[in-house]
C-alpha cells in the first residue's frame, strides 16, 4: 500500500516562452510534464502515483492568460485561471458565453479557482470536468504548439479517455478556441459536498423557438472514460415543457452505461443523469 506523501525527485525547469517550453519538453523526453496550476499534477506527485523525471513550469510565460473575442467566437489562453473566467466583466464573454463564468463556480473552491487554469483542465482530461464537457458541447478547438509548429484539434478528437489526450509529450496547449457563441447553454453537476469533483455532470445547449425545440445538444460526464454525447434527434420539434425535459433526461440515462465506484453506482449515476439533464435543459430554456 502506497503511503508516501512526499514527491520523488525531479529536475525543475522554468520556461519563459512557448518555444522554450517546447524545446525543453522535446529535450527532456516522455517522462517530463508541464506544470501549470499544479492542482491535479502535484497531489499525484505527492502520493508518488506520478513520478515525472522533470517538470517544465509554464506559469510565468507571458501572454497566455486572456479572454479574447474573435468574431462570433471566443479564444481563451491556456493559463487563464478559472477565477479570471468566473469574475470576468467583459461584455463579449458575458453576452455570448455566459455559461463559462457560471460553470466556473462549480470548480472546487475560490483558492482552487485562483490557481487552476483552463488549459490545465483540458490537458488533465477528467471526463467529468466542467471545461471538458463544455469544450465538447460547444465544439471547441484545442490549439497546441509543438516542435512541428501549431496544431488545432477539435475537442472531440483531443479528449481520448480517462486522463488521456491527443497531445504529444512535447506539445503544450496554448489556447482553446470556441468558434461559435454558446447560445442557451447550461452546465449542471452533482457532488455530495459543495466543490467536490462531480459524480455526474451534464452540459446542455438548447435552441428554442415558438415554444418548441429546434435543436438540443446534451453531453454527460462521469458516466465513462469520455463524456457521452446524447443522441437528441428525437427532441426536435418537441414542446419546450417540463415533461419534455424529463423525457430527455430519461433518454440520456438510457443511453449511458456508467461504471460503479466508491463515489456512485452505475444505477445511481443513471438517476443523476436523468435529474441533471432535465434540470439543465429547463434552466437553458428559462434563460
Amino acid at each position: 500500500m502506497g503511503v508516501r506523501l512526499k514527491p520523488a525527485s525531479f529536475a525543475y525547469h522554468r520556461a519563459g516562452s512557448v518555444p522554450e517550453a517546447i524545446a525543453l519538453l522535446a529535450e527532456l523526453g516522455d517522462e517530463a510534464k508541464v506544470l501549470a496550476g499544479g492542482l491535479s499534477l502535484v497531489p499525484m506527485m505527492n502520493f508518488r502515483l506520478a513520478r515525472p523525471t522533470a517538470l517544465v513550469d509554464v506559469t510565468r510565460i507571458p501572454g497566455l492568460s486572456y479572454l479574447r473575442a474573435d468574431g462570433p467566437g471566443l479564444r481563451i489562453g491556456a493559463l487563464t485561471t478559472h477565477r479570471a473566467i468566473e469574475t470576468t466583466t467583459d461584455p463579449a464573454v458575458l453576452a455570448g458565453f455566459g455559461v463559462l463564468p457560471r460553470a466556473a463556480r462549480w470548480i472546487g473552491h475560490y483558492p482552487i479557482r485562483a490557481r487552476g487554469t483552463f488549459g490545465g483542465s483540458i490537458a488533465h482530461a477528467d471526463p467529468a470536468s466542467e471545461w471538458c464537457l463544455l469544450a465538447l458541447l460547444l465544439g471547441a478547438q484545442i490549439v497546441l504548439h509543438g516542435p512541428g509548429g501549431q496544431r488545432v484539434v477539435p475537442a472531440e478528437e483531443f479528449l481520448q479517455g480517462y486522463y488521456t489526450t491527443d497531445a504529444a509529450p512535447d506539445e503544450m496547449i496554448t489556447e482553446v478556441w470556441f468558434p461559435r457563441p454558446a447560445g442557451r447553454a447550461v452546465l449542471h453537476e452533482f457532488a455530495q459536498r459543495q466543490g467536490d469533483f462531480a459524480i455526474v455532470a451534464a452540459a446542455v445547449q438548447a435552441d428554442i423557438a415558438d415554444g418548441a425545440i429546434r435543436s438540443a445538444r446534451v453531453v454527460v460526464g462521469g458516466v465513462g472514460p469520455l463524456p457521452v454525447r446524447i443522441d437528441t434527434a428525437g427532441a426536435v420539434g418537441q414542446p419546450a415543457t417540463s415533461q419534455t425535459w424529463r423525457a430527455l433526461g430519461e433518454l440520456a440515462a438510457a443511453q449511458v452505461d456508467p461504471p460503479s465506484d466508491t463515489h456512485g453506482s452505475g444505477e445511481y449515476r443513471k438517476r443523476l443523469t436523468t435529474t441533471l439533464v432535465s434540470r439543465a435543459l429547463a434552466q437553458a430554456a428559462g434563460e
Binding site: 503511503v3 508516501r4 459536498r193 435529474t275
Partner: protein
C-alpha cells in the same frame, strides 16, 4: 452565538460564567503555535515507516541492505533489531482476550498499513525515498474485512486462540423475564442498527519528537497527545525502562478527538530509535497514514428489540452489540471500550425495567480502534431514538410523547437504572419541552410543509440523551482496566509578585483550559485571570494525571485546581489576618487584595502578602511561612449532562442529497464556566455528528484493502454542509462537582447522528422506506424516494 470579548469583571464580579476571550488565542493567531512538527533539534533525524500493503500476511523476509547506502540515511530498524517490543493493554476479565501490539510487526501483519520497519534519515523526503528500498517478502494470507466475514465458520482468525475472532464477549446484563415480556407486549419494535467506521481526523496528525537528555538521564518525548502520562507508561512498559526515565510533553496539539488518547506504536518506535541512536528523532504522521493506518472508531452493529405497552411505556430491552474493533486492542483502553460502554449505557435517559445486553468486540484485518469522540454513545442514542420513533409509529402515538413517557423525570433523580448506573439531576424533560417549543416558534413544521409542496422531501427529527462525564476512579474501576483512570491532581502556587501558576494532569488540545482553569482559580483567589498561568501536558508536573478525554477535564482537573486554589486562599487569608490584625474568618479575597469584610479601608494587596511570605517570611506565623502553594486531588463519582437536538432537513429527490436546513441544541451542562467555549464544543461536536450521519465512512474492500485513504474519499464536511446552529442553555448544577459544572465535550457528537437520521426518516415517511444505519448516502435516499409509496420499501422493525 455572539461573542463580544471579555467583560472586565466577569459575571457579578466572578469569572466563572464570563465569556472571556481565550488566553490561548493570541499566539495561535499569530502563527506562534508550537506543534511537534514545528520543533527541531540539532542532528535531528526524520522517521518514515515501511508499511504492509497487505491486510493479512506473513513477513518471510525483510532486506534493508539497499538502504544503508541511501543518501542521508542513518539507520533502519525492524522488530527484531529493536528486540520485539510491544504494547499490551489488558482488562482483568476472563471474557477478554489480550492482543499484544508489536511496535513494529514481526512475522505477522494484521492490517494493511501496519508498520514493519522504520527508516531514519536527515530529512523527511530522503526518509521516504529510503522506505522504497526496503525489500519485504510477504506470504499473503486470507483476510477478514468485516463482521460477517470475521464471524463466519472457517474464518481465518486474526489472533490465534480466538473463536469467531471474538476478543471480548460479555453478557453484561440479563433478565429471564424478558421472554415473557416480549411475548405479552402490545408492540415489539427493533432492528439492526449499524454505524460505519470513522476517522477522528484532527487537522494535525499524530507526531512525536524524541531525544535523550543526558543531563537529566531521561528520554524526553514531545508528543501530539491527549494523555502524556499514559504515553509515558506505555513507553516505559514497551521499552522496559522505569517511568522516571521518560518525560512526555504535549506542546500545542492540533486536535485529538480520542485518536490521541491511546498510545500509538509509531511514537514508541521513535522513542526507541532515539534511545538507540542517542540522536533526536521526529515523526509526523501524514494524512494517508492518519486515515488508513492509524486508529479508527464507531464501527458497530446493534441488534436490538424493545417491548412497549399500549401507552407507549417501554417494558423490556434486549441488545446484541457487536463492534468491529480491527486488528489489536489499543493501549490502555483495549478494544472492549466500545462494546462494553454501549452495553452498559444503552438505556440512557429512559427507564427500562428489564434489560439484557451482550457486548462483543470482533477482530478484523483492519486498523485498530481508539475511543473516538462519543465512544458508543452516538450509536446507543441513535438506537434508542429510533426505537422511540418506531414504537410511536406502531402505536399511533406522538414520538415526543413516547419519549416523555419513558424519560427519567423531574423528582426522580438520582435514578439508578437497570444498568446499575446512577443518573444525577438533569433536565431531560425540560430540554425536550423547550426544544419542541422553540421548533414551533421558529415555524419549522410550516417550513417543512412548504418544501414538500415545492416537490422536495423534508423532515424534522429529534434526539434526546444524556452524556456521562467526569467520572472518577471508582466508576472507572468497573471496567477492570489494569490501569484505572479517573482522578486527577493539580497544584497552585503564587509567586513573590502575586502571580499564580496552576499545574494540572489534564491536557487540552483545543478546549481552552488555559482560560477556563484561570477563571476557576481566579475566583478562588480573588485575582484576575490574566494573572493565572496554566501549565499542562507535561509528566514532570504531576506524579500522575490522566489527560483530557471522556469530557473530564473542567470537572476533574478544574475541580482539583479549585481545591488547591482554596487551600492557597486559606493561606492568604491567614497571612492577611496576621498582617491586618484581624480574624481570618473576616478576610475575603477580591480584586487582587485581601480585605476585611465590612471595612473598606482595611486591605492589603495579594502581591504584598506574597512578597512578605517569600522575602520576610520570619515575620509571619509558622503555618504561613515559606511559600503560598498547595496540591490537591479530585476523584468525583461522575455527572451527567444532557441535551435535546432537533434538525430540519431538506432532501432533493432527484439526487438524494440531504441538506441540513435548521439545527437546534438545547443543552444542560450545569454551571457554565465559559459560554464561548461550551458553545464551541457543541458546534464542533454537532458538525462531527452530522458528518457521521451523512458524509463520512472509512471503507475497506472485501479483501481488506483500505479504500478511503485521502480526503477526496473521506468526506469531512465544510462550512457549506452546515447550517447555522442555535444553542440554548439550561443550567442544572451538578451536585457532585466542585464548580457545579458538568462535562460536555462530546454531547454534540452524541446527539447529532440520531437526530439527523430521524429527520431523514421523517423526510422519507410516506415512501415506506426507513433507514437504521449511518451514514445515509444520497444514492440510497434517491433510490428510496424513487421507489416511492407504491413499494414496500425497506421497513425495519416488526
Amino acid at each position: 452565538m455572539t461573542a463580544p470579548g471579555a467583560t472586565a469583571h466577569g459575571r457579578d464580579g466572578r469569572w466563572v460564567g464570563a465569556a472571556l476571550t481565550r488566553k490561548e488565542d493570541r499566539r495561535l493567531l499569530q502563527g506562534r503555535g508550537r506543534f511537534v512538527g514545528d520543533m527541531t533539534r540539532a542532528g535531528m533525524l526524520h522517521a518514515a515507516f515501511v508499511r504492509s500493503p497487505l491486510p493479512a500476511a506473513c513477513v518471510t523476509s525483510i532486506d534493508a541492505s539497499a538502504v544503508a547506502g541511501s543518501p542521508g540515511v542513518a539507520a533502519v530498524f525492524t522488530a527484531a533489531s529493536l528486540g520485539d517490543p510491544y504494547l499490551l493493554a489488558t482488562l482483568d476479565r476472563d471474557e477478554f482476550v489480550p492482543t499484544p501490539m508489536p511496535l513494529l510487526a514481526g512475522d505477522q501483519v494484521r492490517f494493511a498499513g501496519e508498520p514493519v520497519a522504520v527508516v531514519l534519515a536527515d530529512d523527511a523526503y530522503l526518509a521516504e525515498d529510503a522506505t522504497e528500498l526496503v525489500a519485504v517478502d510477504w506470504a499473503l494470507g486470507r483476510a477478514v474485512a468485516g463482521l460477517a466475514a470475521a464471524e463466519a465458520r472457517d474464518a481465518p482468525q486474526v489472533h490465534p486462540g480466538t473463536s469467531g475472532n471474538c476478543l471480548v464477549d460479555l453478557l453484561m446484563f440479563d433478565d429471564d423475564r424478558l421472554g415473557e415480556i416480549f411475548a405479552g407486549a402490545a408492540v415489539v419494535v427493533g432492528g439492526e442498527f449499524t454505524s460505519a467506521r470513522l476517522a477522528a481526523m484532527p487537522l494535525e496528525g499524530r507526531a512525536c519528537l524524541a531525544e535523550w537528555d543526558d543531563r537529566d538521564g531521561q528520554l524526553v518525548l514531545h508528543v501530539s497527545t491527549q494523555v502524556p502520562h499514559q504515553v509515558r507508561s506505555g513507553v516505559a512498559q514497551a521499552l522496559g525502562i522505569p517511568e522516571r526515565t521518560v518525560r512526555v510533553v504535549a506542546p500545542d496539539v492540533g486536535g485529538g478527538f480520542g485518536l490521541k488518547c491511546v498510545v500509538g506504536r509509531e511514537e514508541v518506535v521513535v522513542a526507541a530509535a532515539a534511545l538507540r541512536l542517542r540522536r533526536p528523532v521526529r515523526w509526523a504522521e501524514d494524512r494517508r497514514e492518519n486515515l488508513s493506518a492509524s486508529f479508527h472508531g464507531h464501527e458497530q452493529r446493534h441488534r436490538v428489540r424493545a417491548a412497549f405497552d399500549r401507552e407507549g411505556r417501554i417494558l423490556g430491552l434486549d441488545a446484541e452489540i457487536d463492534c468491529d474493533v480491527g486488528a489489536y486492542s489499543a493501549y490502555p483502553f483495549t478494544c472492549a471500550v466500545e462494546p462494553l460502554m454501549a452495553a452498559s449505557e444503552l438505556p440512557g435517559i429512559y427507564k427500562v425495567p428489564a434489560y439484557r445486553a451482550r457486548g462483543r468486540g470482533i477482530a478484523t484485518h483492519k486498523a485498530p480502534t481508539a475511543p473516538y469522540r462519543g465512544v458508543s454513545r452516538p450509536q446507543i442514542v441513535l438506537v434508542m431514538e429510533r426505537l422511540m420513533e418506531k414504537a410511536a409509529r406502531a402505536l399511533g402515538l406522538g414520538p415526543l410523547e413516547v419519549r416523555r413517557q419513558n424519560m427519567i423525570g423531574p423528582g426522580e433523580f438520582p435514578y439508578t437504572g437497570v444498568n446499575l448506573i446512577s443518573y444525577d439531576e438533569g433536565s431531560y424533560r425540560e430540554s425536550l419541552d423547550l426544544a419542541e417549543r422553540r421548533v414551533a416558534e421558529q415555524g419549522w413544521a410550516a417550513e417543512r410543509d412548504r418544501l414538500r409542496a415545492e416537490g422536495l422531501a423534508a423532515g424534522i427529527g429529534y434526539a434526546c440523551f444524556s452524556e456521562r462525564t467526569a467520572y472518577g476512579t471508582p466508576t472507572m474501576s468497573l471496567r477492570r482496566m489494569r490501569m484505572t483512570p479517573g482522578y486527577d491532581t493539580a497544584s497552585v502556587r503564587m509567586d513573590p509578585t502575586g502571580e499564580v501558576t496552576v499545574t494540572t494532569g489534564t491536557c487540552a488540545h483545543g478546549q481552552g483550559h488555559e482560560t477556563t482553569f484561570a477563571q476557576i482559580v481566579a475566583d478562588r483567589l480573588g485575582v484576575h485571570p490574566d494573572q493565572v498561568r496554566l501549565r499542562q501536558g507535561d509528566t514532570d508536573l504531576a506524579s500522575y494525571g490522566w489527560g483530557t478525554f471522556a469530557s473530564r477535564s473542567v470537572v476533574i482537573g478544574g475541580g482539583a485546581a479549585a481545591r488547591a486554589a482554596e487551600q492557597v486562599a486559606d493561606q492568604l487569608r491567614t497571612a492577611a489576618a496576621h498582617l491586618l490584625e484581624a480574624s481570618a474568618a473576616d478576610v475575603e479575597l477580591r480584586d487582587g487584595a485581601a480585605r476585611i469584610r465590612g471595612d473598606t479601608d482595611a486591605a492589603i494587596p495579594l502581591a504584598e502578602i506574597a512578597r512578605v511570605v517569600h522575602f520576610q517570611t520570619h515575620t509571619l506565623p509558622e503555618q504561613v511561612r515559606y511559600g503560598l502553594e498547595a496540591r490537591a486531588s479530585y476523584d468525583p463519582p461522575g455527572t451527567f449532562s444532557n441535551a435535546c437536538h432537533a434538525a430540519l432537513v431538506g432532501v432533493d429527490p432527484g439526487t438524494g442529497q440531504v441538506r441540513l436546513l435548521r439545527y437546534l441544541v438545547v443543552e444542560d451542562c450545569g454551571v457554565v464556566i465559559n459560554p464561548l467555549i461550551v458553545d464551541g464544543q457543541v458546534l464542533g461536536g454537532v458538525t462531527q455528528g452530522v458528518a457521521a450521519a451523512l458524509y463520512e465512512r472509512i471503507c475497506y474492500d472485501a479483501e481488506g484493502q483500505p479504500v478511503s485513504t485521502t480526503l477526496m474519499d473521506y468526506l469531512v464536511p465544510t462550512a457549506a454542509e452546515m447550517c447555522p446552529v442555535e444553542v440554548i442553555h439550561l443550567e442544572t448544577p451538578s451536585a457532585s462537582s466542585e464548580s457545579g459544572a458538568k462535562g460536555m465535550g462530546e454531547g454534540g457528537m452524541i446527539g447529532a447522528p440520531g437526530c439527523v437520521l430521524n429527520a431523514v426518516n421523517d423526510a422519507l415517511s410516506g415512501t415506506g422506506a426507513s433507514f437504521d444505519h449511518i451514514p445515509v448516502l444520497p444514492a440510497e435516499v434517491c433510490a428510496a424516494l424513487a421507489a416511492g409509496a407504491t413499494e414496500e420499501g425497506r421497513v425495519t422493525g416488526r
